[in-house]
Symmetry: C2
Amino acid sequence: MTGPRAYHHGDLRRALLAAALDAIEEVGPAALSLRDLARRAGVSHAAPAHHFGDKAGLLTALAAQGFDLLAQKLVNADDVLEAGVAYVDFAVTHRAYFEVMFRPELYRADDAELIAARERSGAALRSGVATLPTGAAPADTDRDALAAWSIAHGFATLWLAGALPERVGDDPRTAARDVLRRLAR
Amino acid sequence: MTGPRAYHHGDLRRALLAAALDAIEEVGPAALSLRDLARRAGVSHAAPAHHFGDKAGLLTALAAQGFDLLAQKLVNADDVLEAGVAYVDFAVTHRAYFEVMFRPELYRADDAELIAARERSGAALRSGVATLPTGAAPADTDRDALAAWSIAHGFATLWLAGALPERVGDDPRTAARDVLRRLAR
DNA sequence: GTGCCATCTTGTCAATGGCAAGATAGGATT
DNA sequence: AATCCTATCTTGCCATTGACAAGATGGCAC
């Protein structure tokens, strides 16, 4: 809402979110420590509580940011295939966001701002699938979107989990395009 | 039922693993507490450490069990489509196992027993794809397997995360079969 | 019976999340 | 200007947890 004003710290809320992204990339979202974030930002251990209430509050804000960022990436994609590639690219590039977004037990899934952001992501995904040049029924479009989402999401999470064999290569975009094509053909 | 014995539990290792499955279904694998498991099993707070070393040790054992269980489900499937359905069914039915298996930051991914079990799962998956009646090259088979794995894994994780819209229905097997068919056609 | 050893307990410590109460600062009200 | 107001941040505290160390227990080999 109101822009960050220069108080004691200046921009603590933003600084904590940025520190959280770094920390999550290092230790994962579950092992995130509010006190560690406070240390990184140079404030006392209870400062984060004021801005986010508790750890779930901070992760809720992070997840909402993530869904918005993802929505932007998806609407900029040219077609369904590239939207899928963009999805995987987002997951790998913004790993911290992605890992929080799909772990609703870590945040408040009923948060209004978060639900809105998630809805924007979903709409972007569906609109990409709807532009497919097939005379499919709407119900089929739903399932097509779900299939596209599933394969992109699955590849992304498997990549992040390090579960894929080495021969897949080290470029997630290329490998993802190769895999996603199998659905779109 | 074997009540809590005076000193030696009798089958503490198994009891702790069973308690861990319950606890993970309740609070997720990250919020798992060794001391809580000890209380559930009626032993002292340090007893789990003897059997598993630390929390990662316990989750390593759980993950290995899970990969073995999954491998069994996959080899019993008739074709690729049903293997995918079995994969999703495993994730939903044995949610606790599944949630640990693909979170390697929680356990020791270099554990020998775990690697062996994971390899058995992978082999079961690939062998299903290889039986497809297509004159595809081996390299294509690899990619086909990866695509099948991705879409099944993606659907399963999205289902578990509660990310899917309600109109997908409440039966994961039926919905999964509908989605997976889009790859196999 | 004796000794051995896996099993389990008790005790302890640092780290964490969360709460409560207080301190601080910048603007608003009068 | 003096005072109030409120968001911001600090200090202090407590229960819980993971991990470690040292000791207690009991089954089992000999």
